[in-house]
Symmetry: C3
Subunit: 205 residues, 3 copies
């Protein structure tokens, strides 16, 4: 469980950095950058907690998330001119974060005995909604809707996690396999430039 918590914090850090970068590209001020970082990192978990009516959302109960976000944001601001060199590490963190957040969401769905389909939605939403909020606040159409295979990786991860849970596989093994699935799908998608088809419709007539 300790490894899991560490990975959770790492995922939060990765998402906070991704929010910081997006906010700096939009030339927001220091406060704006912190807010976008915060929202990107906790947005998915917050929506999940609200939907399942948890008494207090997670980041209100464990301050380590807030500290992790603040440190990650300051770090990203300081090294912002060299961030290109970290691209690979960032991508890895971000994808691990995606996998972890998918697992956390799906695990709660299983605990609450929700239908598997709802559990998959809950996992995917936990993983992706922070990024959606980041893009809305930056006044962009969420990137996830446009070109990344991002969400498909989460859905595949959630399905894997649910199947392995039903097979009563050891929890750590399950977590590792699920995260690997998410990472592999994203890597393959990027390597082969896979993307979902865009559906074009004629202009309003």
């Amino acid at each position: 469980m300790n490894i899991f918590y560490t990975l959770d914090i790492l995922g939060t850090v990765a998402f906070a950095i991704s929010g910081t970068l997006a906010a700096m590209h939009k030339r927001l001020d220091l406060f704006g950058v912190f807010i976008i970082a915060f929202v990107t990192a906790v947005g998915g978990g917050t929506l999940r907690d609200i939907l399942i009516d948890r008494t207090l959302v997670s980041w209100m109960q464990d301050l380590n998330y807030v500290y992790a976000i603040i440190i990650a944001t300051i770090f990203a601001i300081i090294i912002r001119k060299k961030i290109a060199y970290l691209r690979t590490s960032l991508f890895l963190f971000d994808t691990i974060g995606l996998g972890i957040f998918t697992i956390i969401g799906a695990e709660i769905g299983i605990q609450q005995e929700l239908h598997p389909v709802i559990t998959i939605i809950l996992g995917t939403l936990t993983a992706t909604f922070g990024g959606v909020l980041r893009d809305i606040l930056c006044n962009e159409i969420p990137v996830i809707f446009k070109k990344e295979i991002y969400a498909m990786a989460c859905i595949a991860g959630a399905i894997t996690f649910i199947i392995l849970s039903n097979l009563e596989i050891n929890t750590n093994t399950n977590h590792i396999i699920t995260i690997l699935i998410v990472i592999v799908i994203r890597l393959i998608a990027i390597k082969f430039k896979l993307s979902l088809p865009t559906l074009i419709i004629e202009n309003k007539s």
Copy 2:
């Protein structure tokens, strides 16, 4: 009640199709289209459930909504080039959905013994918030704020529903009259090109 449930599913279908069309106009990918369809269909009900602190939002408890949305979205994607021919049916479904969702929201307000004004707001919000989210995600100013008499139809519907409930009219009769009110107001507004006045203010000085 069975008729009501059927109409509820029909309304969900209509809203999902309206979301699908909006997303295709924005050239989103397949996943984006599904998300916008989903959000348009369940957004209003979800906000309502969150505001009244329901333990679990509706679509998490009854999977039929999710299936209805998936089928409606696939259907709309397949027939997307011929959708113009369905314009009238779509408009009818959409307006029925509007009426149904207004009733569901207002009914919950009455059950929770909220003040009639709050009940009207809850009904209107249940009916319209999905469309607002659809437009925000598509990076547009919500259409409801700009030209449609849309919300006025909901407000009139909610008022009718509350009055008839207080008069203890038979529930089915009440539902039918309320939905008819919503449909008639929208039809009249479109027929006579009615819209609310736009308030213009001088530019910031």
Copy 3:
């Protein structure tokens, strides 16, 4: 407590007017103007109530907020051409609203025995989120992220309020000092054109 309630209503009125002005600048219709006014005025408190899982959000329990918003919006619409003359009063109300809303959020954080850092976040969020929603609905990047020292005033106010609460200062004195801190910081920031640094990052390479 009566003074506090009066100030709370005044803050709501100020926020509703600020929403009305923003909506009229975007040439929304009458309904859109009301919605933006409403959302600006109650958005922060609603998010706060949802995050702490309050059974029913505040404005659903006390109709005076709704009436205050409706009256303020009608007032702002009527005098819209002369609103420039009221700029100073508006700014004062708006800042008082900011202070009050910060206090209300922080007070709930203290009652719920949240960590001071979370309490500061809750106060700031209560005060600022209505404006963020206003800007999202108007399809703008929230102004708070870009140039105003707005949020810093709230954070300073929340810190002041928490310290004075711990010192067990008389409640009314605490409220007045906190509000004055918020007002003074905003005035100084505007007077000396202070703003947080904008972090610029090179374009995506």
